[in-house]
Structures are given as structure tokens and as C-alpha cells.
Amino acid sequence: MNKATLLEWYRQMVLVRRFEQKCAELYQLGKIGGFLHLYIGQEAVAIGSIGARREQDHVITAYRDHAHALAVGTDPKFLMAELLGKATGVSKGKGGSMHFADVKRHFWGGYGIVGGHVPLGTGIALAEQYKGTDAVVLCYMGDGSTNIGYFHESLNMAGVWDLPIIYIIENNQYGMGTSVERASAVPDISTKALPYGMDPRKVDGMNVVEVYEATNAAIKAIHDGKGPQFLNVITYRFEGHSMGDPLRYRTKSEVEKWREDDPIGVLEREIYAKKAASKDKLEKIDEEVEKVIEEAVDFAEKSPFPSPEALFEDVYVEGQPA
């Protein structure tokens, strides 16, 4: 992996981390409403996999969607504005935290119904196959999604039709507060790919380079005619399921143990080992990111709320009927 790429991933992962920390702060201040699901701890998954994506490839995910938007290159200021419910937000203030999207960058959004976006991603892949392109879909979901009907119907259909899609399980060990062992009859999520004719691959989700390589290999496998792909990416969320999670379902020592594998720390060690940058250089990146976040918050704060007329806009493409 070349040094510039490692540093770019570092910048993106720190951007996600700082963005999420700022979100938590603004949520506590009451400036962000609704639900807020933070990605802290899982940064290597979105950054590494979207790092392997080509411009034509698509991204779709569930409600823990901030990192995916940042990874496809959406300006954080439009995301922060969305969180503050402003008209300048990516979804014009109508979506909120769970419903970021940036379609011109082929990011089709975050979706709030567990598993509900999995058939949508599968359909986006069907459209690419239909049009005869080489684009693929990166369809992310949590381990909890593998227990819902959508998962099984979609993977089966993708298998039957050989669709160009990579199902990326962000396996953070818990569906809300219920561990994989307590929710899934087979604790190894990888085995759930087998009935649908897919060859699963287990990936260390705390290591951005591994996630990148696995995704790259999956894209290549699709192009080699091997059909839909399945990545079981093992990761961990350091914070609760959402803000206000009492965290009764896991021990502090478990969290502390995972924090030793903080994906940003893992990458830092890799950067130093490869002599890709000095500590000063990384600190400089940290400062730059800090500035980007400050600017995003400033932009969001100064942006106007949606106008009253916006309420009735975009219910239908062809105008609001009676």
C-alpha cells in the first residue's frame, strides 16, 4: 500500500471519528434531534471498503451512515447541516442522521428500517447488470440484519440472478443490545452466505488495509464471473447503539479490550512501521480535520431552516396532487 493512500485513509478515519464526536456533543446540546447512531470504532470498515470502490460503483447502507457519506467524499458541511435540520443539508433537512444520501456520488443513502435497504441495493445491482456495465454495489448492513427476511430473500435473488453486489456485514457483535450469539442460530455470520451460493470471507474490520484488500478482491471476483460476494467484517462499536444506550449488555472490560484494537491506532502503527509519516505529520492532519469540522458546524449553524413551503415539496416528482 503506498504511503499517500495510508495517509489519506488516516485523514478520512480521523475525519469520521471527529465528526462523530462532534455529533455527540451537538446531540447533548439538543441541536441534533431524533436518533443518532455513531460509527466510532468501525471507521476502518467504511473507509477501507469505499477506498476500493471505483467511481461507477454504488454504496447503500443502514442508519449508521455518516462514515459512508464522508467516505464517498460528501462535504461534511452538508452533512452537519442535515443533522441540524437545515435547508442546506444533503437531504434538505428532511432526512436527518439516518437518511444521508449523495446520489451524484452514487451514495444511495442510509435507511432506517433494519434490512429494508438490502433489496434496494440488490435492485440497484440488477439495474447495472441490465444496462451491461461493470459497476458493482457495496451493500452494507449490521449483523442484526442477517436475521431479517429481507436479507435472505435478497441474497437468494442475487444468487439466482448472479448480480454484481457485495454484501458487507459490519459485524459489530450486537444488534442493538442483543449479541450475535443470542440472536443468530449460527453464531458465525459467514455461514449465512453459503445457502445462497456465495463464498464468504471473514475480514478484520479493525484493519483498514485488510478491509480494502478484501473489497478489492470481491470486486475482482464479480468481474471474474463469480457472482455476488459476501464479506463478514468483524468490528466493534465503542459507543452505544444510539445516544442514550445504557450499555447494560456488555462489560467495560470487553469494550476496553476492543479499544486496544482501535482502527485508527492500528493504522497509526502501520504508518510508523512503514515510515509513511512522522508523529508531527499525523498531528498536522488531525489539526486540519479539526478545522474542517469547525467549518462544517459553522456552516450548519449559519444555514437557514427549510422554508414552510418545503413541507409540500418532493412528495411526488410530478407535483403534489390533491
Binding site: 454504488h58 443539508g89 444533503v90 437531504s91 434538505k92 433537512g93 428532511k94 432526512g95 437518511h99 444520501a101 449523495d102 446520489v103 444511495w108 443513502g109 435507511y111 428500517i113 429494508g116 435497504h117 438490502v118 433489496p119 434496494l120 441495493g121 440488490t122 435492485g123 440497484i124 445491482a125 440488477l126 439495474a127 447495472e128 441490465y130 444496462k131 427476511g149 429481507y150 430473500e153 435478497s154 437468494n156 435473488m157 439466482v160 440472478w161 415539496e313 418532493d314 412528495v315 411526488y316 416528482v317 410530478e318 396532487p321 390533491a322
Partner: protein, 323 residues
């Protein structure tokens, strides 16, 4: 003009749209090799091939969602639910996804999917296979809900649905498949969201759609023989709902009976009656009546099932109660 069945009109609309636009394709259970369980897509598999006439597994959640995703990414899917009863399994895709993505993402995403589904009672299929749940789907903004009563409207409205930029649920009533009507050769469309006066009359307004419109027309014929002239308005689409012809008629007759095959409670009739009193209160000379399915799960036994459903006699009785 040719005299063709509603089934043929729907088949013609699908075939013509598929020939016109490469992006249009069909997916659903038994739509391909079988030719459609109601024979609507017979011959399509041979003409258009497996790419554009896609047999799916029995997976309504995926049929609802995969078609929506394909629509978001530039195609024009016509997804068929073998019956509307099975569309319940896809309700989350239709309501929470197809009908929401345009608004929820600030106008970035369009979802021009068409869901076709046949529905209705009266064939001894028992409680789970006999629903007329149209009002359920029409409740939610973001989805268009169409249900035609004539072959002409079926063909013209289905073409409009396929060309629409918005998601559409197109509900076909199985008892209407054999109805014949005049349909012009070649291409035409019927605009979505325009109610139609199917019969003019001065004494009472019958408001209906789909199979209910058929029943209302039969009732109007019999009433005419007794000297009562009923005006029949066919809503054609439940969302958007065009109240103008309904109100215009009501301002003339001062009396209304709403005929629908679904349940009375929270139904189409409830909506129309509410709007009539809100917007036409000064013209109301009698209580607005609703003729609808009795509030029971539909039973299997033939006569028992029929007794729960609407018929022309019930409409005639309702009319006479308010004249």
C-alpha cells in the same frame, strides 16, 4: 376501435410499453415461462426473453424492494404481485421505501416503479386470498394508487403509470378481467388523477371505482327502469383523488351513495363522505350512504361469501333510503 377484454387491454399496454422503452421490464412470480397466473403476460417470455420477463422466487419482500432499487437506478420495472394479498409482505418496501425515498432524501432519488396486483373477493378463496385492501395503500402520501373499471381506462392508465416518475400501485380486480369494452388501436394514455363521469343523471350521485363502479353501473341501469336517474362517477385513482367531478355532481343531485368493495370502516367511502361534507355541506339534502363489504373475514362457502360482498340490490336499497 376494438372490443377487447380488460385482461387483453392490460396485456396490450404492457407489450406496447416494453416495445417502446427498453428500460421497461417485468418481474414477479410465474410471469415468464408460465405466462402469468392470470395469463396477462402470456407470450411475453418468448418475445422479450428472460432478461426482461423475470421469473422470481416466491419472495414478495424482495420483489417489492429489488424492483424499487432498479427503478431508483434508472429502469422502469413493472413488478407483479400474484395477488394483492401477498403485497402485504411487501408493504414496508412500498410504503417505507418506494413512497418515501423522493421526499426523505430531499428530491435526490426518483423511484418510478409500477406494482401490479390483482385483488378482490368473490371466488371462494377464503379469508386470506380475497382482500380488497386498496384504502390501506391509498392512505400514504408518496404512492399513487390506481384501480380502473374499464378496458379503455386500464390500458391508458397502465401506460401512464409506466411513464410516471413516481411509484404506482396498479390494482386490477379479477372479476373485471373478462369485461369487454371499446379500446382504440395503438398508443394513448389516460391521465392519472382524473375522475370520470361514467353515466349522467340528476337524482343521485353514485361514487365508485373498479368492481364497485361495475356494480354501480348495474344498479343505475335498474334504477333508470324505475325512473330514477343516477349519475355514476368512477374515481379511477384513489391517490391522487380527483373530487371535482364528484362535487360537481353532488351540487346537482344533493345526494350521494359511495360504493366500494373494501370494508366500510376507515375506507374509501369514509374519505369521500368526509370530503363531501367539508366541501359540499350546503348541498347535502340527505345522509351520505356507504355500500361496502360487511366487516367479517371472507368465508369460503359460496352463498355465505356472496352475502358479505356488495351487489346492485344493496346499492338500490341505499339509494331509495335517501330519495
Amino acid at each position: 376501435m376494438a372490443l377487447i377484454t380488460m385482461r387483453q387491454a392490460i396485456t396490450d399496454a404492457l407489450r406496447e410499453e416494453m416495445r417502446r422503452d427498453e428500460r421497461v421490464f417485468i418481474m414477479g412470480e410465474e410471469v415468464g415461462v408460465w405466462g402469468g397466473t392470470y395469463a396477462v403476460t402470456r407470450g411475453f417470455f418468448d418475445e422479450f426473453g428472460a432478461k426482461r420477463v423475470r421469473d422470481t422466487p416466491i419472495s414478495e419482500m424482495a420483489i417489492g424492494g429489488v424492483s424499487a432499487g432498479a427503478a431508483m437506478n434508472g429502469l422502469r420495472p413493472v413488478a407483479e404481485f400474484m395477488t394483492i394479498n401477498f403485497a402485504f409482505l411487501a408493504l414496508d418496501q412500498m410504503i417505507n421505501h418506494a413512497a418515501k425515498v423522493h421526499y426523505m432524501f430531499g428530491g435526490q432519488i426518483k423511484c418510478p416503479v409500477v406494482y401490479r396486483a390483482v385483488g378482490g373477493g368473490g371466488r371462494q378463496l377464503g379469508a386470506t386470498h380475497s382482500h380488497t385492501p386498496d384504502a390501506v395503500f391509498a392512505h400514504f402520501p408518496g404512492l399513487i394508487v390506481i384501480s380502473p373499471s374499464t378496458p379503455y381506462d386500464a390500458k391508458g392508465l397502465l401506460k401512464s403509470a409506466i411513464r410516471s416518475e413516481d411509484p404506482v400501485l396498479f390494482i386490477e380486480h379479477h372479476t373485471l378481467y373478462q369485461i369487454r369494452g371499446e379500446v382504440p388501436e395503438g398508443d394513448y394514455t389516460v391521465p392519472i388523477g382524473v375522475s370520470n363521469v361514467r353515466r349522467e343523471g340528476r337524482d343521485v350521485t353514485l361514487i365508485a371505482y373498479a368492481q364497485g363502479a361495475q356494480v354501480a353501473m348495474e344498479a343505475a341501469d335498474q334504477l333508470a327502469r324505475e325512473g330514477i336517474e343516477a349519475e355514476v362517477i368512477d374515481l379511477r385513482s384513489l391517490r391522487p383523488l380527483d373530487m371535482e367531478p364528484v362535487l360537481a355532481s353532488f351540487r346537482k343531485t344533493f345526494r350521494a351513495v359511495i360504493v366500494e368493495e373494501g370494508y366500510r370502516s376507515y375506507g374509501v367511502g369514509a374519505e369521500i363522505a368526509a370530503r363531501l361534507q367539508e366541501e359540499g355541506f350546503d348541498y347535502m339534502d340527505a345522509p351520505i350512504k356507504r355500500v361496502a363489504q360487511y366487516e367479517v373475514p371472507l368465508p369460503y362457502s359460496r352463498e355465505l361469501e356472496q352475502s358479505a360482498l356488495i351487489n346492485k340490490d344493496r346499492v338500490i336499497t341505499a339509494v331509495k333510503e335517501i330519495l
